[in-house]
Amino acid sequence: MSPLIRIQREDFSLQDEIDALSVGRSDIGAVVSFTGLCRDEAGTLAALELEHYPGMAEAEIGRVAEAAVARWPLLGLVAIHRYGLIRPGEQIVLVLTASAHRRAAFEAADFMMDYLKTRAPFWKREHRADGTLGGWVEAKGEDDDAAERWSR
């Protein structure tokens, strides 16, 4: 099973990715998806700008995916991360895991997201609705703590 990693500016379709993974197979019993969306609770955000490190982004997510494949009996693994300007309500990231049983699919998707948050070379900054450029989003200590769970 070879993970599918894509770093792209364009939006993605969860349904298309699930279909590509599962149509015509009968060995998959469980598919878990995680979709990360651009939030704007305060109503002050025009868009998030996602900067990334081309080359390393693919390589690093690939390494995290290989670690997941080594750890859980996966039948499919997809990770898609967008860059560029992303507006409130739009999709940013997708992780899709497939396995015979639900535990592996849940754990692998959870693991992938924790590591994407702390290891994938992406940086967010805010473009505000009033036309000004906001600051760079700061990393959260809780994300490091979440990733740390998997080495216990």
Binding site: G36, L50, E51, H52, Y53, G55, M56, A59, E60, H81, I92, V93, M113, L116, K117, T118, R119, A120, P121, F122, W123, K124, R125, W136, V137, E138, A139, D143
Partner: protein, 97 residues
């Protein structure tokens, strides 16, 4: 990366440095190719050598512990040996996902 690092007679080698997010903004350029001394052993050695080069680097690395590094697309620690890395990146903690 099969080519050997470009060595000069005076003990320097050529590397590409790349910067992201506010590290990029403070250094003032997205990337540069520099000849660095071969006796810089670790990521921290390189950071301190850069800080001696100008105020822009001092601003970018003012709090050294806040800046992360990667050697040839692989995360590195402050004490990691530079080895024969050809592309060295500096950036803030990541906020993707």
């Amino acid at each position: 990366m099969t080519a050997a690092p470009a060595m000069t007679a005076t003990g320097t080698r050529t590397v590409k440095l790349v910067y992201f997010a506010w590290v990029r903004e403070r250094v003032g350029i997205p990337d540069e190719t520099l000849d660095i001394p071969t006796d810089l052993a670790t990521v921290t050695d390189l950071v301190r050598w850069l800080k001696a080069r100008g105020e822009n680097y001092q601003a970018a690395f003012a709090r050294e512990a806040l800046v992360r590094a990667a050697l040839d697309h692989v995360h590195a620690k402050p004490g990691s040996p530079l080895g024969d890395a050809r592309e060295i990146a500096f950036f803030p903690p990541m906020t993707g996902g």
